[in-house]
């Protein structure tokens, strides 16, 4: 690259670069989860009866509740991004705080579900369906946890007065990641709870 230093410090260029960076990261994430979705597809076709019987042991009401929780958390993120674009840092903090809270609710519901499965003797090693269930929701849960950390970091940046309508790259980028976490669940929910 032969760009002058002024090009490197052009905020618009920096913003676009950051955005492509996040999309690149998300591409690797698609393939990470993709390997598990591939395993799911293959085994479901090989053992349709096992999947049909075992998926009925999941609580689809709790799954649906968590779907609503995550969709709502995506909505609050998008409102937070909208708020900072208008320079409203307090509003951003309120929306991102709500998102972190919703993420915590999601993980609590997940905990209740896992506990119930363990109570009924259903473990990751019980059978192929539950191996996939725990692996996929576990990896997704780790992403929710990481998302909470990232959103908290953005919240701290805002509290310290580092964000404004002129600089909100971290808000936008954390938002993209959070929506991706929502996207994965949008597929996990029907595949595991509804049509297994």
């Amino acid at each position: 690259m032969t760009g002058t230093s002024s090009e490197h410090h052009d905020p618009a260029v920096a913003f676009e670069s950051a955005k492509l960076g996040v999309w690149t990261f998300l591409a690797t994430e698609v393939l990470l989860f993709g390997a598990l979705f591939t395993a799911y597809t293959i085994f479901r076709m090989k053992y349709p009866e096992l999947f049909r019987v075992e998926h009925a042991k999941l609580d689809r009401v709790l799954g649906a509740v968590n779907t609503v929780v995550l969709i709502t958390s995506s909505f609050t993120v998008v409102l937070g991004v909208d708020a900072i674009r208008r320079g409203k840092t307090r509003l951003l903090e309120a929306y991102f705080g709500a998102t972190i809270l919703l993420a915590a609710v999601f993980l609590c519901v997940k905990y209740v579900e896992y506990a119930a499965k363990f109570h009924h003797g259903l473990y990751p090693g019980t059978n192929l369906f539950f191996s996939l269930y725990f692996m996929m929701t576990g990896l997704h849960g780790a992403h929710v946890l990481l998302g909470m950390a990232v959103l908290t970091y953005v919240l701290v940046l805002s509290r310290r007065g580092r964000l404004s309508e002129n600089y909100y790259t971290p808000v936008e980028m954390s938002g993209l990641y959070w929506h991706f976490v929502d996207l994965v669940w949008i597929y996990l929910f029907p595949l595991l709870y509804l049509v297994g």
Binding site: L26, A27, V30, L31, G34, T38, H179, Y187, P190, V195
Partner: protein
């Protein structure tokens, strides 16, 4: 920074409502036995929901071709991986 997306809060609310509605529909449909149709309907609804999130919440709608490429290429690869693995395992 000059990169407003032009997406209004009204649009966000409409998308949010659509996502909730589609969630209710997909849960209700799962109680009806359609055989393999259940999978087709569930995946179709999930894909509509995913598209709504990507287009409006992730602002793909107002992105240029480069970002679209970054978003679509991994999905094409995933389709290839699933297809290739299926062919390999099912035809053995």
């Amino acid at each position: 920074m000059a990169h407003g997306t032009g997406t209004s809060r009204r649009t966000y609310i409409a998308v949010f409502a659509a996502l909730l509605l589609l969630t209710v529909i997909t849960v209700l449909v799962s109680y009806v036995d359609l055989g393999l149709g259940n999978v087709a309907v569930a995946m179709l609804i999930a894909s509509v929901k995913a598209s709504l999130v990507a287009l409006f919440f992730m602002h793909l709608k107002s992105e240029d071709r480069l970002v679209w490429g970054f978003a679509l290429v991994p999905i094409a690869f995933l389709a290839l991986i699933i297809f290739g693995t299926l062919v390999d395992t099912m035809l053995r």
